[in-house]
């Protein structure tokens, strides 16, 4: 009698299993079809750092105080700047980030008094050579500024990073090809 009950119970559990899977079969799929569609990066995603511009002048907020350079535990930041005529503060001319050493600890972002650097939302960070990860953030910033559309988007707080915005939308292949090289420029 016990054995019969066991068989009956086991068989019933199999049927329950089958009912559950067929239920899933007819429900919509949940996969994001990656190269064609991508998820938008959440606001707190930590890509490599990037420079923040002054929305009025369109120039980087950074004034080369070098606090980030000193705060970096991996010694991967080096900032250089000059004092231009008529300006109170220095302006940045080169912001070198050695991303091969960076561990994304965020000390540089924390220490920055001006809020002149932030995490980008660039996640397509793959390259063929080491040199692709020696980034110059000033060049990257200028390239972003050159893209007028990206400037407009820059002012909307939720989509500050133009790259992740493009990724969130359509244009797959060109975007991936550009992003694969490094986060250096916007396509």
């Amino acid at each position: 009698m016990n054995a019969l009950q066991e068989i009956y119970g086991g068989f019933k559990s199999l049927l329950i299993g089958l009912r559950i899977t067929i239920g899933q079969f007819f429900r919509p799929t949940v996969t994001v079809r990656y190269p064609h569609k991508t998820l938008k990066m959440p606001p707190r995603y930590r890509g490599h750092i990037e420079l923040v511009g002054n929305p009025e002048t369109g120039k980087p907020l950074c004034f080369v105080c070098k606090l980030c350079e000193r705060a970096c535990p991996s010694d991967c930041i080096s900032v250089e700047g000059t004092k231009l005529e008529g300006d109170k503060r220095k302006s940045v001319t080169s912001y070198k980030l050695d991303f091969t050493k960076c561990s994304l600890c965020g000390s540089c972002v924390e220490v920055c008094r001006e809020g002149a650097i932030r995490f980008s939302r660039d996640y397509n960070l793959a390259g063929l050579t080491k040199e692709e990860f020696l980034l110059d953030l000033v060049q990257r910033f200028q390239a972003q500024q050159a893209d007028v559309k990206s400037e407009i988007r820059d002012q909307r707080p939720e989509t500050r990073n133009p790259k992740s915005e493009v990724l969130g939308g359509g244009k797959p292949e060109a975007e991936l090809a550009g992003a694969g090289k490094s986060g250096g420029s916007v396509s």
Partner: protein, 343 residues
């Protein structure tokens, strides 16, 4: 035009040509089914797991089997050092051949079979175990630990499941009183309540018999949850470990061809073959609908249940399936005697 067509048909129906035509039909049928059941399997697996499955090659991934086939054919055939070359090469063919031969006797419609044998059922089960022996040979000839383990498993699993399978088939042969698959289907004409599956007045345990047949079919075709021979998480790929390219491809196709064979046999024996469920318009379409529904259920089961442990597998056969199938055999024999005595 019609005269020409009729002439062609009579020409193709004479013996040597008829054979060639049917061989071509069966090979094409098996090849298309094997290729597209892989697609069905992958799509089904995807849907059961809320994924879309293959989508990139062709519309809805429909050209995926073509791409897979080209990939497999482009690969080098490697015979591992120390392997028994002849057996190693012959095993995939030996897996495929009996399925093709067995399909010759399956009636897809009224008189629509390559060979209208009066011992069709016997032929199918005479040829069936050859494919298991071939998997064993393939595993043995590979000179690989995992392959040999898998070969041993295949043998013990299929010895265990061959018995209830044959007991069930004997029951069906007794109930039908014939081994001719055409006649077995003819007996089930006129509505789904005449199908062997629902003929409970002949044997009250008919649905159980069908269930045993179905379970044994899953085990004999080495399908999950009884895929002990392949068991990729424990035995790499079991008997197929050393096979690559089309050698592996043929094994893979044979697995699906076996599913087609098993499902068509279940359709013929239990679901009334080409008979329609309402007694109207019998035809090959009904056969295909029933067969593909069974094939879908095989995929459904694969993606629902995890692989059983080996002793669980043998326990199921020796402790449940064999006693129950023996009981149904005796019961149906007694029922036949009683019914005959009453009438």
């Amino acid at each position: 035009m019609n005269a020409l067509l009729a002439k062609t048909i009579t020409f193709l129906d004479t013996e040597p040509y008829r054979l060639v035509v049917w061989v071509l039909i069966i090979v094409t049928f098996v090849a298309i089914n094997a290729a597209y059941l892989v697609w069905v399997e992958r799509k089904g697996a995807g849907r059961f797991q809320r994924r879309p499955g293959p989508t990139e090659v062709g519309p809805a991934g429909l050209l995926q089997p073509v791409a897979d086939g080209l990939k497999l054919m482009a690969k080098q055939l490697i015979v591992p050092a120390g392997a028994d070359t002849m057996l190693f090469r012959a095993a995939p063919l030996l897996v495929m051949a009996p399925v093709l031969m067995s399909l010759a006797v399956i009636p897809f419609g009224r008189g629509l079979a390559a060979l209208n044998l009066n011992v069709g059922l016997l032929i199918v089960f005479a040829l069936g175990p050859i494919n298991l022996m071939a998997i064993m040979l393939g595993g043995w000839a590979s000179r690989n630990k995992y392959a040999v383990m898998s070969a041993a498993r295949v043998v013990s699993q299929n010895v265990a499941y061959e018995i209830p399978m044959l007991l069930v088939v004997t029951t069906m042969a007794m109930v039908s009183g014939t081994l001719d698959l055409n006649q077995i289907v003819e007996q089930q004409s006129g509505g789904f309540w005449h199908w062997n599956l629902f003929r409970v007045w002949v044997n009250p345990l008919m649905p159980v018999t069908f269930l045993i047949f179905y379970i044994c079919m899953l085990a004999e075709t080495n399908r999950a949850p009884f895929d002990m021979a392949e068991a990729e998480s424990e035995l790499v790929a079991g008997a197929y470990t050393e096979y690559g390219g089309m050698g592996f491809g043929v094994f893979f196709m044979a697995e699906y061809a076996n599913i087609v064979l098993g499902c068509s046999l279940a359709t013929v024996l239990f679901l009334g073959g080409w008979q329609s469920p309402f007694g109207l318009m019998p035809g090959v379409v009904w056969f295909l609908i029933k067969m593909y529904f069974l094939i879908f259920s095989v995929v459904w089961i694969r993606w629902t249940f995890p692989r059983t442990q080996f002793y669980g597998l043998l326990n199921l056969s020796w402790k449940i399936l064999i006693p129950v199938s023996l009981f149904t055999l005796i019961l149906s024999a007694a029922m036949i005697k009683i019914l005959r005595a009453l009438s």
